[in-house]
């Protein structure tokens, strides 16, 4: 059954610190939970420092400061400094909104290792529309400043039906901005992206064309720019090895202190995710019901339990299994062996029908008003 402690527990390596759900942008594919507006409380500076220290002691080394928009936290430089002192390799995952040259220099001084700036599209019009905020020009300036101050520059573009046709221009823009790394993240359909899926999911033809363009470009810029291409798993027949296996590598701490094996885990039923205000990271990682829930293979059902590929993909993503089949123990429906696999084709068909309809419903933007309406 779930929660077996026979599985060998490996220590966390990656820590994602979601400092806040506050964000001036309104991306309709945001991975934050739909009901984020009800989580108002935020950990204070001392709580975060303790979390960083405890996780580092267990072996976490890669650290992402994310959100929401982490720049809205006044104590960010202090947390960055603390992380550097502990020996983390730290990353600021930002929309760039509110990032000034002064701040970029201050964070460098505090010991920040890199900055990942997200851009929504290759044109001002589409970027600002998707972000729900005028931000395109500023993001480009931020990208230049990040480079100027000697950080490796990581550009992140989330890909979906509204911008996938811009793939060639997105790649050009990344080159022009001098990105050292480009993350082309095909939308993963959780949180707000799940709610907007009919409007965001591209067709198979669009995917394939965009992927071809990206792969060709990858070769062209080899040695200069590294491209991480996050595959769109709706068009695969095997699921992704989600989080490298539940509770093996990744630890996410939500703004209110809830510890999560993946950033969507708080949306799973009866998960009772533990809070860092009540337990140490070591207790949470090793002993909590949540982190042991899907460790190892004993929780699996058929077809996963007897499948010879289970060590490769761990049965896929638990949150996707739950969102798409209503059963968090089921095989990820992306898998062609899953009895629920047809729901993927249904989703693709439904998105296509929506794209062809004369009056497509509008995107639901990620903001507190919509969060309250939807939850």
């Amino acid at each position: 059954m779930a929660g077996s402690n026979k599985t060998k527990i490996t220590p966390p390596r990656w820590l994602l610190a979601e400092l806040t759900y506050a964000c001036p942008l309104q991306c309709p594919y945001c991975a934050n939970p739909i009901d984020y507006a009800k989580y108002q409380s935020e950990l204070d500076t001392e709580d975060w420092k303790r979390v960083l220290s405890q996780a580092r002691k267990m072996g976490a080394v890669q650290l992402g400061f994310s959100g929401g928009e982490p720049l809205t936290r006044k104590d960010l430089p202090e947390l960055v400094k603390h992380a550097r002192d502990l020996g983390y390799y730290s990353n600021l995952i930002t929309s760039g909104y509110g990032l000034t040259e002064e701040k970029i220099a201050q964070l460098k001084e505090a010991g920040l290792d890199h900055i990942q700036v997200s851009i929504q599209a290759s044109t001002q019009e589409l970027n600002d529309h998707l972000a729900g905020t005028e931000s395109f020009q500023h993001k480009k300036e931020v990208a230049h400043l990040v480079k100027k101050h000697g950080y490796p520059m990581v550009l992140c573009v989330v890909i979906h039906r509204e911008n996938i046709h811009q793939m060639p221009q997105i790649l050009e823009m990344a080159e022009e901005l001098g990105a050292d790394y480009l993350e082309l993240a095909n939308t993963q359909y959780y949180g707000w992206a799940h709610a907007n899926r009919d409007l965001l999911l591209p067709t198979k033809e669009q995917f394939e064309q965009a992927e071809q363009i990206a792969q060709a470009f990858k070769e062209k810029v080899a040695g200069k720019m590294k491209i991480y291409y996050v595959v769109p798993d709706f068009y695969e027949d095997r699921p992704k090895a989600c989080m490298n296996g539940w509770g093996t590598t990744f630890l996410t701490i939500a703004p209110d202190g809830v510890a999560l094996p993946c950033h969507s885990a708080r949306e799973l039923p009866d998960m009772d995710c533990p809070n860092v205000k009540d337990y140490s990271i070591e207790q949470i990682w090793n002993e909590s019901k949540t982190f042991n829930f899907f460790r190892g293979f004993e929780w699996m059902k058929e077809p996963c339990s007897s499948c010879d590929e289970k060590e490769k993909d761990f049965g896929g993503c638990r949150c996707q299994a739950y969102l798409l089949s209503g059963d968090m123990y089921a095989a990820d429906p992306v898998c062609s062996k899953s009895p629920n696999h047809h729901v993927i084709q249904d989703a693709i068909d439904s998105a296509k029908a929506s794209a062809l309809a004369d009056n497509e419903k509008p995107l639901i933007f990620r903001n507190s008003k919509n969060s309250r309406l939807l939850s």
Binding site: G59, V61, G87, Y89, N91, D113, G223
Partner: protein, 90 residues
């Protein structure tokens, strides 16, 4: 891409090389990634401090480990390191 023997070699400022107590290993850290190093790879990279050229790195390592015949292995590893962007020349 191959190592130019006339230029010094330095570890890339865009990466970080550090000892990880929890893993009892040296690792290279960079955006979105981490490479665990075995002891010999780590020793080679630590020599890449921007003062030594290829020959000196080989000499110093052979001296440090009181051995000879490391040239091929070291050169091969440094070529991989250069290709991965872990080290730079000039």
């Amino acid at each position: 891409m191959s190592i130019n023997p006339d230029q010094t070699i330095k570890f890339s400022p865009m990466h970080r090389l550090q000892w990880e107590e929890a893993q009892q290993k040296d690792v290279i850290l960079y955006p979105e990634g981490m490479v665990e190093l075995n002891q010999s790879s780590a020793e080679i990279l630590k020599m890449c401090d921007g003062t030594r050229k290829l020959d000196q790195i080989i000499d110093d390592l052979e001296q440090k480990f009181a051995t000879t015949g490391l040239a091929n292995d070291i050169t091969a590893f440094l070529e991989v390191a250069l290709k991965n962007g872990w080290i730079q020349q000039n």
